[in-house]
């Protein structure tokens, strides 16, 4: 095996086009290295992109936040800009592994590994994340929803590199949150993870609700039927009744034959209620 250290996106796409399916991109390596060490992967080349400085920034471009693919989960969890504009993403990043993992694990890696349990994906899905892909033959932009093709499978071509992730920051009277349930609060995979982004009008009507889950048998995904059950609801005494949406979420997001289906179905509605309460409190606290 060869270790190819690249310093720029141009060098990276050159190496990717040279190695094709024989090459494996190495960013933080928290997924790739254990797979290699266990002998599950034997690429002819590890293409180490961790030194590409151009992929490590967080910036605001035309009203959206652009996050370089190499931004680490630790940085997402602790950066004040992310905590303020993308709280669900900051909370999700903080729930991955432990400090040692978050130091090196990258957002791009979490997306491209595309595990069913990928903690950051629900938060990205409710922020309508768009992925900026680049290869030697050009650039393209794909929504995260389209990118995910099943657990471990994505639309990334062997010669392509994920360069940046664009996410919608919170709008007016909008709040969001992320919760994860695992067997431990650290160092464990999600049994379920849930992100909610909620918008409420000044008259107390839910104008937008986005709900996404991870931890099931499918790729992390939005749950439109649960979203529809909340959208248009009227707050009563500053509270949002999520019972119907919770029931819908449990049945739509957890197939009957899934592992621990009963447990997951019982947990999800509670998580949704807690997130909704948190969001409503934040929205009413910020603007009445």
């Amino acid at each position: 095996m060869q270790f190819c250290r690249v310093r720029s996106v141009a060098e990276a796409v050159d190496e990717l086009s040279r190695w094709g399916t024989e090459g494996r991109i190495l960013a933080g390596g928290t997924d790739v290295m254990p797979q290699y060490l266990r002998g599950e992967q034997s690429p002819a080349a590890l293409i180490d992109i961790s030194g590409i400085e151009g992929l490590q920034g967080i910036s605001e471009v035309g009203g959206v936040t652009s996050i370089g693919a190499l931004v680490t989960l630790r940085r997402l969890a602790t950066a004040s800009l992310v905590q303020l504009r993308h709280p669900a993403l900051a909370q999700a990043a903080a729930a991955v592994g432990a400090w040692q993992t978050q130091t090196v694990a990258t957002l791009g890696g979490n997306i491209c590994s595309a595990a069913a349990t990928a903690d950051t994906l629900p938060a990205l899905l409710v922020a309508d994340a768009q992925l900026m892909l680049v290869s030697k033959s050009g650039r393209r932009r794909v929504s995260l929803e389209e990118f995910l093709e099943g657990p471990g499978a994505t639309a990334l071509r062997p010669t392509e590199l994920l360069r940046a992730i664009e996410v919608e920051p919170l709008g007016e009277r909008t709040s969001e949150g992320n919760l994860k349930v695992g067997r431990r609060s650290a160092m464990d995979l999600a049994v379920v993870g849930l992100a909610l982004r909620l918008s409420v009008t000044p008259s107390g009507v839910v104008s937008d609700a986005r709900i996404a889950v991870c931890g099931g048998t499918r790729s992390p995904h939005r749950v439109p039927s649960a979203e529809a059950a909340i959208a248009g609801s009227q707050l009563i005494d500053g509270r949002l009744d999520c019972a119907e949406a919770g029931a819908e979420l449990a049945s739509a997001a957890v197939p009957e034959r899934a592992d621990s289906a009963q447990y997951r179905r019982r947990v999800l509605p509670g998580l949704l209620s807690r997130l909704a309460e948190r969001c409503v409190t934040a929205i009413l606290g910020a603007g009445g």
Partner: protein
């Protein structure tokens, strides 16, 4: 195109515990392998080998990493601190001393990792709450003592360091 046959080597420069090194390592070698096998720094331990237990924790540019799953090639040019580097001057750090006085060590296998992650915490958050300490310890597993003495040692060391900085 070269296939799976034979690992090519990769050249890396590291500063480890204040000493500069230039090394040739096999392409898939982990930082832990390099530290233990090439630099004879056996403080960081291999236990799970999967980044789950924290016994291999070292600091890269001041931040804790699981060195057992970190490719040595990807830390080229970086500064590494292992447990051997803590008492570099021959004197134990306040944290190490607190581990001794609180009997926070039993079999000792996890101790190097615990010391490193807590060193990073005290650097990052000089006056941590108990919750901060517990959160920092989440990725470093001890199967002997329980965590109480370890947490108390960390909190005590923080207070000691604050007092000695202000006196």
């Amino acid at each position: 195109m070269p296939g799976a046959a034979g690992e090519q080597s990769v050249s890396i420069r590291l500063i480890v515990n204040d000493r500069r090194h230039q090394l040739e390592t096999p392409a898939g070698e982990t930082l832990l392998g390099t530290l233990r096998e090439r630099l004879a720094l056996t403080g960081p331990k291999e236990a799970c080998g999967e980044g789950e237990c924290g016994a291999c924790t070292v600091l890269v540019d001041g931040a804790p990493v699981a060195s057992c799953i970190l490719a040595a090639g990807s830390v080229n040019g970086r500064t590494i601190l292992t447990v051997e580097g803590l008492a570099g001057t021959g004197e134990l750090t306040a944290l190490q001393q607190a581990f001794v006085s609180h009997a926070a060590v039993q079999c000792g296998y996890c101790t190097p990792g615990l010391l490193m992650v807590l060193t990073a915490l005290l650097d990052d958050t000089p006056d941590p709450s108990e919750a901060d300490v517990r959160r920092a310890l989440a990725g470093t597993i001890c199967r002997c003592t329980g965590y109480q003495q370890i947490i108390e040692a960390a909190l005590d060391a923080a207070q000691l360091m604050i007092r000695s900085a202000t006196s």
